[in-house]
Amino acid sequence: MAEMDPQHTKWVMVIDLDRCNGCGACVTACAMENNVAFTGEEENAYGRGMHWLRIVRYWVGEWPNVQVRFMPMLCQQCSNAPCEPVCPVFATMHSEAQELNIQVYNRCIGTRYCANNCPYIARTFNWFDYEWPEPLNFHLNPDVTVRRRGIMEKCTFCIQRIRAAEEEARMEGRPVRDGEVQPACAQACPTEAIVFGNWQDPNSKVRELAESQRGFRFLEELGTEPKVIYLSSQKHEF
């Protein structure tokens, strides 16, 4: 722990696809934590859901040996994020302290270039001003900006939680403890498929899990250096 630099963290998520059962708790938890708007049936039918996190489902094989694979897909917080350099106004940028890919809502002017350039299709756009009819708006998280129309948004790794934990740790003069920060998805996940932690911490759970031979990064051949590590699901074959 001693070698950890409290000023510099590198947050990493490990998603064990063998544990993930696709239940969707993370999807809802994410929406509730981050004030993600719901858009209704017609908009969703037209591909305009605001889900920051979606569970990509693949069909494998032919009847009757059909199988399903679930893969939660969210912003991969790439180290070499393709979305960042294309933004004309620095609305999406890299936070050097947390090594996160940040979306600055106030700066965004809505060119949507970042979304086109994201190989993970992880970004969503506020097509309209979405509403939470009173009193539904009471549950909006005061730590997270409610986005208005015309701007991009995406998974933030629950940066509000990271920041809170970091400040607390800084005040106590210690590094952030492993497991102290949990994004909403990891916290809700019933199967503990999602594990979150600081890569700089050599004893962290994510480091341990990432060493697994099942580990891979999605589309890593593109050189984006994603910070979400998937552990592949290896089904037993009968």
Partner: protein, 476 residues
């Protein structure tokens, strides 16, 4: 002119040549001035009706729809995840392409001393300016928060934030601004003598207007010298700017990590496409001017359509070459997603658009334009202008929407359907273009009279044996 020295038996041939070539058919400058001024002052009822309709339609379909779009959000457009760019960007690229017409005609043809350009340089340059005005709207229209567009401008601000010069959109912004300013100035410089002419010949508000706009031009030697030098510099300098503009527009796509876009050939491919659509649009516009503006049959003749037709054929071949290159090499690459994209283009949902592109840009021009008689028919060239531009619009649609519809995650593929608001705005820029053009046709001399007169000076006839040919003297 030497025709007096020609034998009488060649008289018929000389008449033929004269009818054919504007520059062999001189008329006194006063008369040409009068003709041009007459055309400008010809504000008749039809014109007013057409302009009112165009103006109202533009106000509603473009600005009305845009205002509605801004007040409700971009969701009114048909774009969706993952097709974040739609008709707006298609139209943007299209109009940028059209804007290449003027520069091509007045800069490249000027540099290469292609004499047939003389009567319609201005008509083409006006297209550049107004097409850029239309094109320049789209980056604003397509913004989620249009009212924050100025954040792209590099200026010191209280946010301490400068634009990101690594973003192709900032390159775009710079290139389009350079091009818009450059081509407007380039339109204006040769216009000054003509405005001075109009100043001398008109009365009332026009006199005031032209007095202001002509900046006290008198046609002194110094003025001409500086003007011609400047035009020369512009002609050379604006060509690379023009190339850079469409190259950078193509880089919006080519630098992206998006299969179907990520292609090194996009720069020249886009430029050739732009010139193709620009040149063909010139044909259409000349036809419109010829039929709808007074006295223009004198200035715009079949020879001009013929020349444009030849250019068009060559450029269509050039476009086909790049198109083939792009397609073949992508296909040979064998990348899985790219294969799917190409399949989607050729046989998928995008096929009607894709085949429209191939037919309009290659098949029809190649079948029609080899024939001189067809090339010389203004209406044929006008039709070609429409057809090729449909093809080029289709090309941009395929590239923007088609490539975005397919990505590396099949789960997140998409389809796209332009919404009414989008279509309305796209049509609105067409009416805006024609509206501005119509306005300009009555406000500024559409024909650069001094350039035509210069051409008259430069052209002559020469007898060689029993024949007679056109000769050109190099005056510049």
């Amino acid at each position: 002119m030497q025709e007096t020295t020609l034998p009488a038996e060649l008289h018929e041939r000389v008449e033929e040549l004269r009818e054919e070539h504007l520059l062999l058919d001189p008329r006194p400058r006063e008369e040409m001035n009068r003709m041009v001024l007459e055309a400008m002052e010809d504000v008749n009822r039809e014109y007013i009706i057409v302009m009112t309709i165009l103006g109202l339609v533009t106000a509603v379909t473009l600005f009305g729809a845009w205002g509605y779009l801004m007040s409700k959000g971009l969701g009114l457009a048909g774009i969706r995840r993952p097709i974040y760019w739609g008709l707006f960007i298609v139209s943007f690229v299209f109009w940028i392409g059209i804007s290449h017409a003027g520069t091509f005609v007045s800069a490249i043809l000027r540099v290469f001393k292609a004499e047939f350009r003389r009567p319609f340089t201005r008509a083409a340059e006006l297209m550049t300016t107004f097409a850029l005005a239309g094109a320049g709207l789209y980056p604003l229209i397509h913004l989620g928060r249009t009212w924050r567009f100025y954040w792209m401008i590099p200026y010191p601000n209280q946010r301490w934030l400068w634009p990101n010069f690594r973003s192709p959109l900032v390159w775009d912004f710079l290139a389009i601004n350079t091009y818009l300013l450059g081509s407007t100035m380039y339109l204006f410089l040769p216009l000054i003598p003509d405005l001075a002419m109009a100043r001398d010949k008109s009365k009332g508000w026009r006199k005031v207007l032209y007095t202001i706009l002509s900046f006290g031009w008198r046609g002194t030697e110094e003025e001409w010298r500086h003007l011609q030098k400047a035009i020369q510099i512009f002609a050379w300098a604006i060509i690379p700017v023009m190339f850079s503009v469409h190259t950078i527009v193509s880089w919006d796509f080519a630098v992206a990590m998006k299969l179907g876009w990520h292609s090194t050939i996009f720069g020249p491919y886009f430029i050739v496409g732009a010139i193709l659509s620009g040149i063909s649009a010139v044909g259409f516009i000349l036809y419109m001017i010829r039929i709808s503006v007074k006295n223009m049959r004198y200035f715009i003749r079949p020879e001009h359509f013929d020349a444009l037709g030849k250019l068009l054929l060559i450029i269509s071949m050039g476009w086909a070459y790049f198109f083939f290159n792009e397609f073949l090499l992508e296909w040979y690459g064998g990348e899985h997603t790219v294969q799917e994209i190409l399949r989607y283009y050729t046989t998928g949902d995008m096929a009607p658009v894709w085949w429209t592109m191939v037919i309009c840009n290659i098949l029809i021009p190649w079948l029609v334009l080899w024939n001189k008689n067809w090339r010389r028919k203004p209406w044929v060239m006008a039709l070609m202008g429409i057809i090729v531009n449909i093809g080029m619009y289709a090309e941009r649609y395929v590239i923007v929407v088609g490539a975005l519809s397919r990505n590396r995650i099949p789960f997140d593929w998409g389809w796209y359907k332009p919404s009414l608001v989008e279509i309305s705005i796209a049509l609105g820029t067409f009416t805006l273009f024609f509206f501005l053009y119509g306005l300009a046709s009555r406000l500024i001399p559409l024909i650069p009279v001094w350039e035509v007169e210069e051409g008259h000076h430069a052209h002559g006839l020469k007898r060689i044996g029993k024949g007679v040919v056109k000769t050109v003297a190099e005056l510049e």
